[in-house]
Symmetry: C2
Subunit: 369 residues, 2 copies
Amino acid sequence: MTGEEVKEPKEQQEVTEAKEPEICYKAIVLSGVGGYDKVKVEVKKGVPALKSDEILVRVQACGLNFSDLLVRQGAFGKHHSLGTECAGVIEAIGDLVIDRKVGDKIIMMNIDGGLWTELVVTTVNCTYLMPDGMSFQEAAAISVNYAAAYMMIYDYANLRPNQSILIHMAAGGVGIAATQLCKLVHDVTIFGTASPSKHETIKENGVAYPIDYTTLDYAEEVRKISPKGVDIVLDPLGGADDSKGFGLLKSLGKLVLYGSANQVTAPKRSSLAAAKVWWHKFNIDALQLINSNKAVCGFHLGRTDPDHVAEVIRKLISLYKEGKIKPKVDSVWSFEQVGDAMKHMQEHKNIGKIILVPEVKTTDATTGN
Amino acid sequence: MTGEEVKEPKEQQEVTEAKEPEICYKAIVLSGVGGYDKVKVEVKKGVPALKSDEILVRVQACGLNFSDLLVRQGAFGKHHSLGTECAGVIEAIGDLVIDRKVGDKIIMMNIDGGLWTELVVTTVNCTYLMPDGMSFQEAAAISVNYAAAYMMIYDYANLRPNQSILIHMAAGGVGIAATQLCKLVHDVTIFGTASPSKHETIKENGVAYPIDYTTLDYAEEVRKISPKGVDIVLDPLGGADDSKGFGLLKSLGKLVLYGSANQVTAPKRSSLAAAKVWWHKFNIDALQLINSNKAVCGFHLGRTDPDHVAEVIRKLISLYKEGKIKPKVDSVWSFEQVGDAMKHMQEHKNIGKIILVPEVKTTDATTGN
């Protein structure tokens, strides 16, 4: 190695720096699993590399989901990434990309996470063009929650006219989406649980009978209105609530299980809460199912055929364009506030979707979009 | 009490007898629970009494169902009656009956049994007018099997275009009905199990891939054609087959359980077969269901809302009129041959519906209608 050879690269580097200053971008990462303090904003350097079939997206808004709380707590192991949905603008495209162009506004979903970042590289098949009139915040709120609600209501529960449904956490992201999607079917009676301060909003959204689950027995409240029970229960709670929901079903009724929120009682994983859920865990055998003449459905978005998910999201975008669904944004938080945003969700304070934005937020957290 | 008073009723009785000779009619009854010998034809005397809202029906044909085998074996206790469906002609109506007249041909279903009889009294709401062109044998075959298949496929499984289904016992009453009802949806792929001698018939009925379950592993056979499995499994078998069916489901797939045929291996209840089914019994908890992203539905016709059953039967009659469904009669047996007819079903020899008729049968048991 000669002195000249060492010098040359240094010169080149200086020239490059002079032409184009190194780009930095923010991303939300986990420094470990546990409480809110494990979530950090990291500044990354350099534009991510782009393959010929990929696109580079500048993210404008991200959606926070309950699954992100579970990822942070380590419920899925230590190596899961946060952030399964966002919306942004295409900043560059690979040579072989034909159906997207620079400047396109897109919705993105990736169930494996990694979307809470200012700049992201992805393939086209994870993206959907945003329709006219849709805000970035709405775009960051329409994929995960609405797709889950859609598949639970239409693929599993097969909701039809004159039926009834109990939606737990009716003010949450899935709850708001599910209520709007139920309203697409004629004469459906919607029961929804939420704390009293949220009742007005969920009623406006379509819930006929808001139930204060914090002070009342929701099963008793449902039976006061509908003594035979309901046709469908959407249940993200787990534990003893699963059996209670099953008991509330009419003949041919469906209990759709999609979570275990009862297990998320504290910032960190709670052994006591987990034990309680486990102790009360819903368990059923073939004969009990036949004799009760009811169905139990387990839903897991991450284990759903990706082609079907894509088909559902395209359907949801059509419904949005027709004015039949509209995401409700609860509040907007900057990346740096992600811990507080998670706390807001975990303490069940939100009504609708919690949005994270890379820039320092410009709207008040309580007024939303 | 005087001599005159005693004499008067005697005279009245003699007069009645002279006017109208006592009517006798046959009914199939159980002399106990157990094997084929417990089923007897009893001759009853006198026309059953008719209330003002009831009708008297002369039965022309009755349907044999798997549940009748279970009733005979005592699976539901000692006091259940045989015979849940039949067809016949109205012979008399009560004063308050307005929507039926003498001579009407009707389909009857009563999940509590008691319809294997020449004369039966019932209320109008258990009956449906037979459409033109429907034979009594078809009419005795369209309610129980088709209603069960309809609700399993459309209420529970929510069959849609391009989906796939595995129908066990595809040559049985429910299997034939289910296949025809699946064909109403576009581009559905139907797998059906049956012994090889029945393959041609079930193929004609709509099964794309008949599977010889007697010599092959049906799950392997399905995966050869459809590596990802199927969207729906209709399972009347119970025991180890339930888990096998669950394993065959795609994401968002539905296992519909509606029986435990594996338990009916001998004329009498078999403790060994019951123990085997119990040992392999399908059991699942909430977390397993969510993680597998699948559903399990238990179907029990007897525990279904009667108004919904009636709605479904009316729908089935419309489908028959439109030529979209047509019951397949396997064979016709006289009441006196009921034991042999039951044996024929229990040994899985039938292709389609087994019919019982009060008169000595005029058709050959193997040629049917």
